[in-house]
């Protein structure tokens, strides 16, 4: 037994102990270490790999006929210019209708810049402290939740989108009420994580914000369930989501502040309580009455 133990823990045992200590150190570390390791690995492994793939694509394009490609690019540009006017018109109409649907104060803004790769994407908008925007305000688009404000200056603000790994939102499957944490997935996708293995979730289910946590309002669409997959190494499941908002194509957003209502069509059809016939005169809210 002692011989076997000696053989097992010869000098290689030191390496094993070292790796064990390192692993426990990583487990005890927080999110910044995770991002740091992710950034280093991205720089060392994935970025060179992407460059190789990019070079391969370029070579492939060259071999399949440069003239045809140039012609295609020119035609695509013309097509884009023509489609842009129609798309803008459509978008602004949708935004106008959206703004009419949502109650409560909100600040319209335009996307004017982006930063970061898939590790930590951020979006720059053209409204800042001058427009009363503060950190942690939720940001929505016409189709659903976009993210939250993480930094503001006088005239601009940085928005951390849902596809940023640091952005976590409590989500709920609207049909079955299954709750989980919406987290970013590589490639700009989203996933509802921490879902019980046998939870009632089906493809096509809409996942909306649950309102837990106090930062994001409840009821805003986050994404649509596409598939269930096991979480790596765990016995829980994650629900792969197709994001409700395509962040790559995002141009107009709205920063929410104060009290607001979710864009629930059933709610939209009802008149506000104070406009109903026979409705009592709004009194001072009970919580306020209790205050000295």
């Amino acid at each position: 037994m002692a011989r076997l133990r000696r053989r097992f823990f010869q000098r290689d045992g030191v390496l094993l102990v070292l790796l064990t200590v390192l692993s426990f150190g990583l487990m005890a570390s927080g999110e910044p270490v995770r991002w740091g390791v992710g950034r280093v690995l991205e720089a060392l492994l994935y970025t060179p790999l992407e460059r190789v793939i990019g070079a391969g694509r370029g070579f492939w394009a060259g071999t399949t006929g440069k003239r045809l490609e140039e012609e295609a690019v020119r035609l695509r540009e013309e097509n884009t210019l023509l489609a842009e006017a129609a798309a803008e018109n459509e978008r602004l109409r949708a935004a106008l209708g959206f703004r009419q649907r949502v109650r409560g104060p909100m600040i319209p803004a335009e996307v004017i810049g982006r930063r970061g790769t898939f590790v930590e994407p951020l979006i720059l908008i053209d409204r800042g402290r001058d427009a009363a925007i503060t950190v942690n305000m939720p940001v929505v688009g016409v189709n659903g939740l976009v993210g939250r404000i993480v930094e503001t200056s006088g005239t601009t603000s940085w928005v951390m989108p849902l596809t940023n790994p640091a952005c976590r939102v409590s989500g709920v499957v609207r049909r079955s009420g299954v709750v989980g944490i919406v987290a970013a997935r590589p490639g700009g996708a989203l996933a509802l994580t921490g879902v019980p293995l046998l939870a009632d979730v089906a493809p096509g289910d809409l996942v909306v914000t649950s309102g837990l946590g106090g930062v994001f309002p409840a009821g805003w669409p986050v994404g649509e369930a596409v598939a269930m997959a096991p979480e790596f190494g765990g016995l829980l499941s994650r629900v792969e989501l197709r994001p409700a908002t395509n962040l790559d194509l995002l141009e107009e957003v709205f920063v929410l502040r104060g009290q607001f209502s979710p864009p629930d069509p059933r709610v939209e059809e009802l008149a506000p309580p104070d406009q109903l016939e026979g409705a009592p005169t709004p009194a001072v809210p009970p919580r306020m009455q209790e205050l000295p």
Binding site: D12, L15, L19, A227, A229, L235
Partner: protein
Amino acid sequence: MTWIVTLLVQAVTSAIETSLGGPWLRGHVWFDLTSGIVVYVALFRGRRAGAIAGFAGGLLADLAGPGPLGRTSLLLAWAGYLVGTAGERMPRENRLIQYVLVVLTVLARQVAMLALSTGPFGDIGPAAFLFYALPTALASGVAALACYRLTAKLGVFRVR
């Protein structure tokens, strides 16, 4: 040089698992290629290489998943070391032994993850083990053997 090849293989495997991990098979069964590579490296390059390959593969798996960093690294580093130690006394060319080692490694990973995880476990029980962990381990063993044959033909690793 072997370390670089090992890390690159683990990185590519991690990228494949990250992008294709879910939809490979129906339901909750998936191919745990990372564990398969750890077993292969441990068998043919020794326990030290197995431990490092396990640590690297586990780190990449942790980065791709929502769990804490270092959890899978710890498990796969130990798995690589143990398999490497066992491989010194076994006919490592035997496919049945390779298959069994991969299945045991994947199963150990699943069970250990259950023990180390801190999330809610409301619905996890024997059924989950039978319909998720066991099929995953068996399927991973088949996939690993296929990869081993391909790798042997390509001559990526020389047997030490």
